[in-house]
């Protein structure tokens, strides 16, 4: 018994150290390739310790910044607008559902569940957005479909409102003659900061990581977001300089381009904001997942 208990702890730690390495290793590998010299990649392949470090890939990307800057801009704009509007709509839907005196409450909950569980499938969904609403090649195409309202987030918020906002606070507001809107804005929202932050974070990640809508609704390189640019570039590095300002020198540019390194450097540029911010928001994120899990 003492032997096993003395052995147990190091074994557990070993398990988690391996687990952590498995999670981190691919990122480190990609980063290392992005700062490797092209000739050392040709010689040794991708490796964790490059024989020669060279920032040429990043230099190359910064020299030809046109498309990347645009895609970055599109991503940031869509993420900001999307997150704000989405948070607002989610809260406005979830709050009434948390109040017991709402007429048709069950019907509305059912509609929410129904859309979460059942849909006509991708084609009708796509055709409706393109032909009836006309979202092809607009920023709305990346904001509205799929991402604007998540039934899961509504449920998460609803159970937070129902469990943590005391009935008496709403009543006291009513007695003082406040309108429903004032009660919501002045009493409920300030008390719900944790859930607001969590849902905002979920939305932020969803918008930042989205490439699906962009792939479906966007044809113009001007409106491509960074994730979709990365998709295109993974298959074909030349895509990156398709929109280069220096279009007459494309041939020359291509011949000088460190292709493998550029690919990986773009991946790093696309994922860097998340990785840098992750230590700051991971606590929120974990608590969001767990509260969603415990009261789904």
């Amino acid at each position: 018994m003492p032997v096993t208990s003395r052995l147990r702890s190091p074994l557990i730690h070993l398990f988690f150290v391996l687990f952590s390495i498995a999670s981190l290793f691919p990122f480190i590998l990609v980063f290392m390739v992005s700062i490797s010299d092209e000739s050392s990649i040709a010689q040794n392949g991708y490796s964790l310790i490059p024989s020669k470090i060279n920032f040429a890939s990043y230099q190359f990307l910064f020299n030809d910044f046109g498309q990347i800057a645009r895609s970055y801009g599109v991503t940031i704009l869509v993420t900001l607008i999307g997150t704000t509007v989405s948070l607002f709509i989610t809260a406005l839907f979830a709050y009434p559902l948390s109040r017991k005196d709402l007429p048709l409450r069950r019907t509305m909950s059912f509609l929410l569940f129904f859309t979460m569980l059942f849909s006509g499938g991708m084609v009708p969904w796509y055709i409706t957005y393109v032909t009836m609403i006309g979202l092809k090649n607009t920023l709305f195409g990346m904001i509205i479909p799929n991402l604007l309202l998540s039934a899961f987030n509504v449920l998460l918020m609803r159970s937070f409102f129902a469990n943590t906002i005391p009935e008496s606070i709403v009543e006291s507001g009513t007695i003082d003659g406040a309108s429903e809107l004032t009660i919501f804005m002045k009493l409920v929202v300030p008390l719900s900061a944790p859930i607001m932050a969590t849902v905002a974070l979920f939305n932020l990640l969803a918008y930042w990581n989205d490439w699906y809508n962009c792939m479906l609704f966007i044809d113009k390189p001007d409106l491509m977001n960074i994730q979709y640019l990365m998709t295109k570039t993974l298959n074909n590095v030349q895509f990156l300089i398709m929109k280069a300002d220096t279009s007459s020198q494309v041939g020359e540019l291509l011949s000088k381009m460190p292709t493998e390194g550029v690919r990986m450097a773009l991946a790093i540029i696309g994922v860097a904001p998340l990785l840098v911010a992750y230590p700051f928001f991971q606590k929120f994120y974990i608590s969001g997942i767990t509260s969603g899990a415990v009261k789904g």
Binding site: S23, G45, S47, G120, P124, L205, E260, Y278, T290, V294
Partner: protein, 273 residues
């Protein structure tokens, strides 16, 4: 939902959605008589079954073990590292996989060459390897997330159970098998039932981005979702892709009803409706 009628139409763009002639059940017949129908259904279901088994096993193991670590700081560190893969997009995952499997300079081929002087494998042309690759990639991305959900359930268990067990002389193993697992089993069952209810759906990013839409891999990477996408965007076959989507949705709908019924039997509070 309005677009669902497309499945019963022979769409042409001149007459529009309403104007196009009716096709009856033709689109469905065409779909189910093609060899693709069996292939995509089998792939979607088999992958999901393996995902459920592998992910649940590893997530439970991780959750049980992390609970044994008493140091809060280290616990938090482990949790955040294994959740990291979950927050990145499938595009980035595709890059990470590519860095391992790239034929010329990928890590795996180079290491095979270095240690065993084995010949390089052209991963993106060999369908046989992909069932393993996709199961590993899916586990890599999702186990951390699931583990945190199970960990939350374990933390929720009343500490008094363990105190009583310790007084009765139960060792850690006994406590784990007699207290922890039975008490979180409703959670495990519910998560599994939810996964089963969406067994006809697949993670589009995983099956489209990670194999890089490679043609030779289709036999083992094509699922209903990627099939619908390809039929619509690449072949322009609106009728058949709608039919496939409806087939998927209808089966899913009944699975969800069934799963909800089962959840309600296990724990009334956790039922969806």
């Amino acid at each position: 939902m309005y677009g669902v009628i497309l499945a019963f139409k022979e769409l042409n763009y001149v007459d529009g959605i309403w104007g196009s002639p009716w096709a009856g059940m033709y689109n469905f017949k065409f779909l189910f008589s093609s060899p693709d129908a069996f292939l995509i259904t089998r792939n979607t279901i088999m992958y999901n079954v393996f995902f459920i088994v592998v992910n649940t096993t590893f997530a439970l193991l991780a959750a049980l073990l992390v609970n044994e670590i008493k140091d809060k700081v280290i616990t938090r560190f482990y949790q955040s590292t294994f959740l990291l893969p979950h927050i990145i997009s499938m595009v980035v995952v595709a890059y990470l996989v590519y860095s391992f499997l790239n034929t010329d300079s990928g890590l795996i081929n180079r290491q095979l060459d270095k240690w065993f002087s084995a010949e390089s494998i052209s991963w993106y042309n060999e369908p046989d390897y992909w069932p393993y690759i996709l199961v590993i990639v899916n586990a890599w991305k999702n186990v951390g997330y699931l583990a945190i959900i199970y960990f939350a359930a374990i933390i929720g268990i009343d500490k008094e159970f363990y105190e009583a067990a310790t007084i009765d002389g139960a060792n850690k193993w006994k406590q784990m098998t007699r207290i922890t697992i039975p008490l979180i089993s409703p959670m495990i069952i519910i998560m599994t039932l939810l996964a089963i209810s969406s067994i006809m759906r697949s993670d589009f990013g995983l099956f489209y981005q990670v194999p890089m839409n490679s043609g030779p891999l289709m036999p083992t990477t094509n699922t209903i979702d990627t099939f619908v996408y390809r039929a619509m965007i690449e072949r322009g076959d609106i009728g058949m892709s709608t039919a496939a989507g409806i087939y998927q949705s209808v089966v899913c709908f009944f699975l969800i009803l069934g799963a909800n019924f089962a959840v309600r039997r296990i724990s009334k509070d956790d039922a969806l409706f």
